[in-house]
């Protein structure tokens, strides 16, 4: 889009690439490098840029400690289930807002979207006793339901703005053939909406995946802990500040989702492009 034939343009391009690129990638590099250093090499005032004596001791320690896979699985279950739930709810609600006209449609949508500004911590104060009275405290189901807070409104809005672009003619034509609205939605609209749905799924997944606040509060048993609080409580706490272990565990905790994301990112970019966000 830019003309980079001139030297000055090349220099500006190169500098910008180096600057932002360094900011984006150096921390990742440092994560990998630090996880491979033994404690003697790790705790130096002037660190070595590459491990002089690379070691896997921190990885071995993290594996033998043995709770990492459990935390990870818990996170995948709760984040995955809640992202599915958000996507399903948002698909129908977004379509309803985009394609049907009824009284109060816009104010309701507007209110829902503004509610995304309600402080999560404030909602938690009331969600906590609510889950308690439903016997859902310290359960994965309780956490999954609570995670709706993070992304349901924005996801609904994203899909609304996508569905709004789907031409009415497409639907009217099918309707003329005698298909019911739900059938049209399921067989015609949804199949052409996969990328935006994936986008919304990932968006809400990431919110739950990153969560520390709800999981730290609603889950009190160690065997149901998710990865965020799990890592925090294991590696940096009152009796410990084990940076090497933290780095190694971080890498391993990130691996599955990074791999999964590498497969899904094509859809993600497509979904964004298709107007899930507009």
């Amino acid at each position: 889009m830019f003309d980079l034939s001139s030297t000055s343009a090349k220099v500006v391009f190169g500098l910008a690439l180096a600057f932002i690129g360094f900011f984006l990638f150096f921390p990742l590099y440092w994560l990998v490098i630090s996880s491979l250093k033994g404690n003697a090499e790790l705790y130096q005032i002037i660190p070595t840029p590459v491990p002089v004596m690379p070691t896997l001791e921190h990885f071995v320690a993290a594996i033998t400690r043995g709770k990492l896979p459990m935390y990870l699985l818990n996170s995948l279950i709760t984040s995955g289930a809640s992202a599915v739930l958000v996507s399903v709810l948002a698909i129908y609600a977004g379509y309803s807002f985009a394609k049907y006209r009824y009284f109060g449609r816009q104010p309701v949508m507007l209110f829902m979207l503004s509610a995304q500004m309600f402080p999560f911590g404030l909602l938690l104060i009331s969600i906590y006793p609510m889950m308690s009275s439903l016997n859902l405290l310290d359960t994965q189901l309780g956490l999954i339901l609570s995670y709706l807070v993070f992304a349901l409104p924005v996801s609904t809005y994203m899909l609304y703005s996508y569905f709004a672009q789907v031409p009415d003619e497409l639907i009217d034509a099918a309707r003329a053939d005698g298909a019911s609205d739900l059938r049209i939605f399921h067989t015609i609209v949804i199949p052409i909406s996969i990328p935006p749905v994936v986008t919304v799924f990932l968006y809400s997944f990431m919110w739950s995946w990153n969560d520390l606040l709800y999981s730290m509060t609603l889950i009190v048993s160690d065997d149901k802990r998710t990865i965020g609080p799990g890592l925090l409580l294991t590696y940096l706490n009152e009796v410990n500040s084990d940076w090497g272990g933290a780095m190694a565990a971080s890498l391993m905790a990130s691996a599955p989702i990074v791999i999964a994301f590498m497969f899904l990112q094509r859809y993600f970019i497509q979904g964004v492009t298709a107007g899930a966000v507009k």
Binding site: L85, L136, T139, Q140, L233, E238
Partner: protein, 422 residues
């Protein structure tokens, strides 16, 4: 709607899988020592021993020390309290209002307990005549030094504050990249201890026995000024909490800090040398202002509390059998030693009187004083206030005078809602 119901069904199914963990054990025990990697096996040994002795099984619930208070509150409000929990002595007043907390005098009888336990240890679990907790291990928070680092810097163990400072300067100048005294400067709970001790050393006090806040005094000002100076002269460092202190001392990068005797267990672990590191762990008298002053230290211990519906229990309940077991001679003559701490019963203390480290520790720290903040129900709130104001002065955000004045005002306000605890 079809997909929706299916999805919801799937979600419910997943959720219920997590929900129904059956409680097959006779009782649950929530413990932070169990969560400490170096000590898990030792605590597991206790549970196994209890099973062998009484035929009852215990479900261990390990929680990080820093997470315990919050977790107990969350569980109290959701009716999922464990049967028995391990507490730090300073947390007890905060939990005294929980209606499931059992007064153990009603279970074992006051006279019985007083005959069995050492008075100082038992007192930590007593609030207004109610025995809400039994001690598990006890001791004091006092000064620890790394002997090897002192040698390297060519200094002797200091007795007065002035000598202490000279020693710090020697360490700073002779041990490269060291933090001579790893004063707590990050975590409010740890800052409280360091400030309280230096405040005592300078003759000040935070709250008197009646609950009147008395921190606004020349003594407290000079104590805080002393701490600020240490930081400014790079004799202490910012961003230090207890784990950092232990790690630095274990690596020979620090000479002094305040901790409980249990610190030796962590130092063995962090130094990577195990018991070989013990020779370097030197318990010291807290330096005094003037030669001849009495040295100070803070009472410290781990407590055991029992939660039961209606707060009623009998000695035959599994939880109470467990408490009896943990305070029996069989456990008390071994477990505290492994934790590098004092036992809590008279008979066990007599049996371990020849342990060199504990004797040295007790000798160095002498008679310890109760944590003057930790005995109030609003201890958590006050810890935050003190931590914030001390930190504000240490980091140069406000003057020592402003910090002390603000501390006085804020603590007084906080005490307005407090219930007297012990």
């Amino acid at each position: 709607m079809n997909r929706l119901t299916k999805a919801l069904g799937a979600v419910a199914l997943i959720g219920s899988m997590g929900a129904g963990t059956a409680q097959a054990d006779d009782l649950s025990f929530m413990s932070f020592t169990y969560a400490e990697e170096a000590n898990t096996a030792t605590v597991q040994g206790l549970l196994d021993g209890f099973k062998a002795a009484d035929g009852l099984t215990v479900e261990p619930l390990g929680f990080a020390w820093g997470d315990m208070q919050k977790n107990i509150f969350l569980r109290a409000r959701s009716n999922t309290l464990p049967n028995v929990a391990q507490l730090s002595e300073r947390w007890l007043p905060t939990f005294a209002s929980l209606d499931q907390l059992v007064d153990l005098n009603t279970v074992y009888g006051q006279e019985n307990l007083e005959a069995t336990f050492a008075a100082d240890a038992l007192a930590m679990g007593n609030i207004n005549g109610k025995q809400f907790a039994l001690p598990l291990i006890s001791g004091s928070i006092g000064m620890v030094a790394n002997k090897a680092v002192l040698d390297q810097a060519g200094v002797e163990a200091p007795t007065t504050v002035a000598e202490f400072k000279d020693a710090l300067i020697a360490v700073r100048d002779n041990v490269p990249n060291s933090v001579p005294y790893t004063m707590a400067t990050k975590n409010n709970g740890s800052i409280l201890i360091d400030f309280m001790i230096w405040n005592w050393v300078h003759g000040g006090s935070i709250i008197d026995a009646e609950g009147k806040v008395v921190v606004d005094s020349p003594e407290s000002r000079s104590a805080l000024q002393f701490m600020v100076d240490l930081l400014n002269e790079r004799l202490a460092a910012p961003e230090i909490d207890r784990p950092d202190s232990r790690r630095l001392l274990a690596q020979g990068a620090s000479a002094f800090y305040f901790d409980a005797p249990q610190t030796r267990t962590f130092l063995r672990d962090f130094s990577g040398q195990g018991e070989a590191f013990d020779v370097n762990v030197l318990p010291l008298k807290t330096p005094v202002l003037n030669e001849g002053d009495a040295s100070t230290s803070v009472q410290w211990g781990h407590l055991l509390v029992q939660f039961a519906p209606g707060a009623t229990a009998t000695a035959e309940d599994p939880a109470d059998k467990f408490l009896s077991y943990l305070t029996s001679d069989a456990v008390q003559t071994e477990f505290p030693l492994k934790m590098s701490a004092l036992p809590v019963t008279n008979s066990a203390r007599a049996a371990v009187a020849d342990d060199a480290y504990l004797t040295a520790w007790a000798e160095a720290t002498g008679a310890s004083r109760a944590n003057e903040v930790g005995i109030w129900s609003n201890a958590a709130d006050m810890t935050t206030i003190i931590g914030e104001e001390v930190q504000g002065a240490l980091l140069g955000q406000k003057s020592v005078d402003d910090a002390i004045t603000a501390m006085q005002t804020r603590l007084t306000e906080s005490m307005a809602n407090a219930t007297p605890a012990s």
